[in-house]
Symmetry: C2
Subunit: 273 residues, 2 copies
């Protein structure tokens, strides 16, 4: 999906919500547990219930890998289902990969190839290994890197705020370098909602880039703050919620409750578009 299509989708649904598909068998409704294709059935129900309120879905790859080969089969089925829907959505492999160029090419093939098993629109990438670890993910038309800049977790402060002699923080270096590697048409950044006030510094370096913002809701970030500092004329934001939506209930009503929570966020988001 290209930038214009993403922006159109956001305007059409009055939403910039990304639903995190962190499918954890231990947290899924008891009536699904132990059923064949339980994870796929869970994801399918969540997608059907939320797609009118969301523009993106973000499976967290760790949750599927931790189920072994069977988990990847469930991921493949989920992606096939998303690709087959009339209602489109932007798809993000939350994989946080990154390795020497030759290896990153293999990760890019795994997650982004149109002929591959998943065919995601985008993948999250870690910046520590620099340019040649990132570029291979940007070589396909209409495919995106979402590079970690400022994350929402406690450990973010261990390295991301280290400052050089000019007072510039590591995350600012990452942004400055990366905007030379890609463009707002193939490069987004992860910026945690728990650091919303930092968004103005992110916008100073990357004024037009889309930002994927985790941490609203369960992790304590505020949608209002994120919009105040992060919104652009093209929206420029994808705000993610995972647990707050998909585990709103662990009873048979989980999909309805997921829809309720997604709708609440969509109604808030509509004010800003």
């Amino acid at each position: 999906m290209n930038r214009q299509e993403l922006i159109s989708l956001i305007r059409q649904r009055h939403s910039f919500l990304c639903v995190g598909l962190d499918a954890d068998p231990a947290k899924m409704p008891s009536h699904l547990q132990g059923q064949p294709d339980a994870v796929y059935q869970f994801n399918k129900a969540v997608i059907d219930a939320t797609i009118d309120y969301a523009v993106a879905y973000k499976p967290n790859i760790a949750f599927y890998e931790s189920m072994g080969v069977e988990g990847l089969i469930q991921l493949r089925k989920t992606m096939q289902y998303l690709h087959g829907l009339d209602k489109k959505a932007f798809t993000i492999a939350d994989a946080k990969r990154g390795d020497i160029g030759n290896t990153s090419q293999h990760y890019a093939k795994a997650f982004l190839d149109p002929q591959g098993e998943y065919n995601f629109d985008a993948i999250t990438v870690a910046p520590y290994m620099g340019e040649d670890s990132v570029l291979p993910f940007m070589s396909r038309p209409d495919k995106w890197v979402i590079l970690l800049a400022l994350t929402s977790n406690k450990g973010a402060s261990d390295f991301q705020f280290l400052r050089d002699t000019t007072g510039k923080a590591l995350f600012e270096h990452v942004l400055e370098r990366a905007v030379q590697w890609g463009t707002p048409d193939n490069l987004m950044f992860v910026v945690g909602a728990t650091k919303a006030s930092m968004l103005s510094r992110v916008r100073a370096i990357a004024p037009h880039s889309f930002l994927l913002v985790p941490g609203v809701g369960a992790q304590g970030g505020s949608l209002d703050e994120v919009c105040r500092y992060g919104l652009t004329a093209d929206c420029g934001l994808l705000v993610n919620s995972s647990r707050g939506i998909i585990y709103a209930s662990n009873g048979p009503d989980f999909a309805e409750r997921a829809a309720d929570e997604a709708r609440k966020l969509q109604i808030q988001m509509a004010q800003y578009i």
Copy 2:
């Protein structure tokens, strides 16, 4: 495998060689291509041919993921084979994972769980997200984090050498913090052989930690330099070679040629133990 067992293995085989199992179907011998379980058969032949000269095997997970679900099945078979051998080896998932704590727990489960599909001894981890992204990989007995410190690729210079006001580089910050998170019994570091002279600075911060050193051979690093600056009383090094061994030939003699190349390195290594 714990530290003492690893050191014993190194002394027993007079080797600190790690063989990188970067199984790329396009580079495999033509007589194997298209055969059932070709990747597993290739790995098995390489392992049988090299295990007298090597102490560790390091499948690069990207190469398996890029083959989709089938690739992970080949990886599982390879790991089952390694676990079933009388001759032991240290096993490393070269995965470069790292995410918020809850997610890292899932990656740790995927790769390190004794009851899981792979049961690796160690996993490579990226440091950008800080402490809570790393700790979940160190919670299992005799399992290891191998944290990226100084990588062997060109892009390493983009961020790893950024200096703070005191002149300390990012990779040194990573080392200093990380030695507080783990111990030489559950934490190693990746330090590229192409930066061998930097090893003395690594050893100043992490004098007893094992270092996983890629980049000898194909990437131009020198074993002699690596040993001069990196060797400890317990050896403290695992030096990796991938392409130079496993693709020494793409004919029917690939396993014999892999053995030749591994033996050459082992003979050089024996001088240092």
